[in-house]
Amino acid sequence: MSKNFGTQRLVVGAHYGFTDWLAQRVTALLMAVFSVVLVAQLLFGGKLGYERWSAIFSAQWMKFLAFVTIVSMLYHTWVGMRDVWMDYVKPVGIKLTLQVFTIAWLVGCAGWAVQVLWRL
């Protein structure tokens, strides 16, 4: 087992950065799949109106995929916006405030989107 304390402790390979890096890519792929599936359904299937639009999101498998996309969006955007604040905002207080705002904004929006989706 690697030594996790003292002067010999492992100071690289904590994987915090790697986890987020990977999560951002995996969530991106999931959202891309949703986008392609949605566009495919929009392109093929005749005239678009409320009937057809709501039918697309009423299908249970589409609700499943849309929910996965909403949660992916939440995490993906958190990683991205946190990176933006970390890069450009130095004062700790302002940075923390912006990060709290980001979390509230994203969680609120995700909840709203789920509410719309599950009302169908």
Binding site: R25, A28, L29, A32, S35, G49, Y50, W53, S54, F57, T77, G80, M81, V84, T102, W105, L106, C109, W112, A113, V116, L117, R119, L120
Partner: protein
């Protein structure tokens, strides 16, 4: 003991300052990169608007009318044409962000990190997202 204070001053390269932005020439890949960021932040800020559109377009036939009239009658004090412009900016942001993201995945998977590959793929990213934005913009405004 050697005197370390006599060493010649080495040049220091810091991050560019905000006042230097206008005079700083970015390579194409740099443009893709900063636009990737800008498009992401734009979508983040307009997220409630997107979900509002999702809401009114799906909730009922009556609210669907509200959705379509947003781009004719407008939203509050904002005229319909302006709302179309907002959606067009979102369309561009989405396309650029998606294609620049696919470029990242492609670079990760195939180790395509040479200067030439970066330049060509940046050009493709900018061209493709610009072209698709034009096509969808024409669809949005004229058809």
């Amino acid at each position: 003991m050697a005197d370390t204070t006599q060493r010649p001053k080495r040049p220091v390269y810091r991050n560019i300052h905000v006042t230097q932005l206008a005079s700083y020439r970015l390579p194409l890949a740099g443009w893709v990169s900063i636009l990737h960021r800008i498009s992401g932040v734009l979508m983040f800020l307009l997220l409630p608007f997107v979900i509002w559109l999702f809401d009114v377009s799906l909730t009922s036939e009556v609210s669907y009318e509200r959705f379509t009239s947003t781009f004719v009658a407008g939203l509050g004090p904002l005229p319909g044409g302006f709302m179309k412009l907002v959606v067009l900016s979102l369309i561009w942001a989405f396309l650029h962000h998606l294609i620049a993201g696919v470029r990242h995945l492609w670079m990760d998977m195939t180790h395509s990190v040479s200067l030439q590959q970066g330049r060509v793929s940046a050009l493709i990213t900018l061209g493709l997202s610009g072209l698709l934005t034009l096509v969808l913009g024409a669809r949005l405004f004229f058809f």
